[in-house]
């Protein structure tokens, strides 16, 4: 089989401002992060699709003790995209003190940023970023 969406192609998409994911041709599931087979039905007939970069926060944390290479504090959240998949990223333009339960359910737009390489990261990476919409 040919892999429908590699990490490299996913990363290139983000660099162009496009959030690429997968659609299962068997059960219509939207899939992100990309996999080789559909997590729902196991089918491997998947095609690349551009996803709407919008969704809502389902949960979050404030990382205050960070791994080597990261500058705390910062807010990490899970977002449920409008098309269904859950993704992980960092919430931008927010004071850590403002990160409370009220964040859950807030709508966000999704962007990305490159992340620095460390000896274990297999080169430079990319991380999704979230900006709160509305007030």
């Amino acid at each position: 089989m040919t892999r429908a969406l590699t990490y490299s192609a996913y990363k290139d998409g983000l660099a162009k401002g496009v959030l690429r994911g997968l659609r299962c041709n068997s059960c219509r599931e939207h899939i992100l992060p990309p996999t080789a087979a559909c997590p729902k039905c196991g089918g491997s007939d998947l095609k690349v699709a551009d996803f709407s970069p919008r969704g809502k926060i389902t949960t979050f944390t404030v990382v205050r003790v960070a791994a080597a290479g990261f500058q705390p504090p910062f807010v990490v959240a899970m977002v449920e995209l409008d098309q269904g998949p859950w993704i992980m990223g960092t919430v931008k333009r927010i004071q850590p003190e403002a990160a409370a339960m009220g964040l859950i359910g807030r709508r966000v737009s999704v962007g990305s940023e490159r992340t620095a390489a460390d000896p274990y990261s297999g080169g430079e990476g990319v991380s999704l970023t979230f900006e709160l919409e509305g007030k």
Binding site: P33, V62, R64, A66, A68, I104, Y120, S127
Partner: protein, 388 residues
């Protein structure tokens, strides 16, 4: 399938060790051999759980060195198993199945880890490797962060005010420190209060320092055996009566991790194999890497309804004298969490509990015990049922 006996169990103290991972494993293994009455030369295979030996001491392929360390015959296959924090539970499951199926009669299985030599920044970085390296790790998410997100999900899903949940979580830490104070091998042997937890610094909201298990060093090992030559002494020897293991993808793919599908599948396998249900479990050692993790586990294992695990702690149902005593050893929280050794140490505690050898922390009359170990961000769950 043959009946798999636990002939012996051994464990080092947990905490900060001057000994190397291999030295600790040998210490636990010789203790297990001594406990079993078998000489190491009877051992036919060795399985060791170890997660980060590469980063801690620059050691890969540790298993054959351990076989040599133990003076085992060169006929003995020696294998390191890595499933994050569930590594040695998985090692025990694999060893038990190989003994049950007749491939080996006597196996040495355990785990070892020396996390503290890494220091907190590298330890935090390497523990985060349990998340997806491409789609999650670059966010800077940490292990406490994963469980902080689980806690917020839980509070929101069941409409529990965060302050209420945090107090319930603190009570998990208070209970496990109480139990740990009675365990001479525990990393922390001091009682704490709810105020200790709620007054400690924030690690990853809403988890404070005392919601988190420590980085620890230690090792634990079991001797498993079957066959006519290896009947243990005593009328009611401990056997492994059920095992289960299941898998899940990244936290993103799992979505709502307040229900771990891997745990529910794994424990179902283990209960079915043992012919029991959650109501039959007398004592449980489960994966309390963070206080919220214990609450989630007690629900996933079937002890309490979903969303009610926190209330159960408030009512003392998981305390030593409660309906289902959870983590009598002190758990990962107080006994410590040398990740590769954790599952073997949980098994050690259950074996000792079923034999009635736990002194002040003994659960009276326990005949069925459950081990639950989580690896990574709910990616691997492995369960073992012990009975006598």
């Amino acid at each position: 399938m043959r009946k798999v006996y636990v002939l012996g169990a051994g464990m080092t103290p947990f905490g900060v060790s001057e000994k190397t991972s291999m030295e600790m494993f040998a210490e636990a293994s010789f203790a297990a051999c001594e406990d079993s009455g078998l000489a190491p030369k009877e051992i036919q295979a060795l399985f060791v759980g170890n997660v980060l030996g590469d980063f801690e001491e620059g050691q890969i392929n540790m298993a054959p060195f351990l076989a040599a360390e133990m003076g085992l015959s060169s006929e003995v296959p020696a294998v390191r198993i890595e499933n994050a924090c569930a590594s040695s539970t998985v090692a025990i499951r694999n060893a038990a199945l190989l003994v049950a199926s007749g491939v080996y009669d006597v196996v040495l299985v355990g785990g070892t880890e020396r996390t503290t030599v890494m220091g907190t920044p590298l330890a935090t970085r390497t523990f985060a490797m349990g998340s997806h390296c491409r789609y999650e790790e670059p966010t800077g998410i940490t292990f406490p962060g994963i469980f902080g997100m689980a806690a917020h999900l839980y509070a929101n899903k069941y409409s529990i005010p965060l302050d209420t949940l945090k107090r319930q979580m603190a009570l998990v830490a208070v209970k496990n420190h109480h139990n740990g104070s009675k365990n001479p091998l525990a990393h922390f042997r001091k009682e704490i209060t709810v105020e200790t937890v709620l007054g400690s610094f924030m690690v990853a909201d809403p988890l404070q320092l005392y919601d988190c298990c420590p980085f620890s060093d230690g090792a634990a090992a079991l001797i498993l055996a079957a066959g006519a030559r290896f009947r243990p002494r005593g009328k009611k020897p401990v056997v492994i009566s059920g095992v289960g293991q299941a898998s899940a993808g990244s936290m993103c793919l799992q979505k709502d991790v307040t229900r771990s599908r891997a745990r529910e599948a794994s424990v179902r396998q283990a209960y079915r194999m043992a012919g029991i249900g959650p109501e039959d479990v007398d004592v449980c050692e489960l994966h309390d890497c963070f206080t919220i993790a214990e609450i989630l586990a007690t629900e996933g294992l079937g002890f309490f309804e979903f969303g009610k695990g926190g209330e159960a702690v408030e009512h003392g149902e998981t305390s030593l004298k409660g309906r289902i005593p959870v983590n009598p050893s002190g758990g990962l929280k107080a006994k410590g969490h040398p990740i590769g050794a954790t599952g073997a140490a949980q098994a050690y505690e259950i074996v000792k509990q079923l034999r009635g050898e736990c002194g002040d922390r003994q659960v009276g009359g326990a005949t069925v015990g459950l081990v639950d170990t989580l690896g990574g961000e709910f990616g691997t769950v492995c369960n073992l049922v012990f009975s006598r």
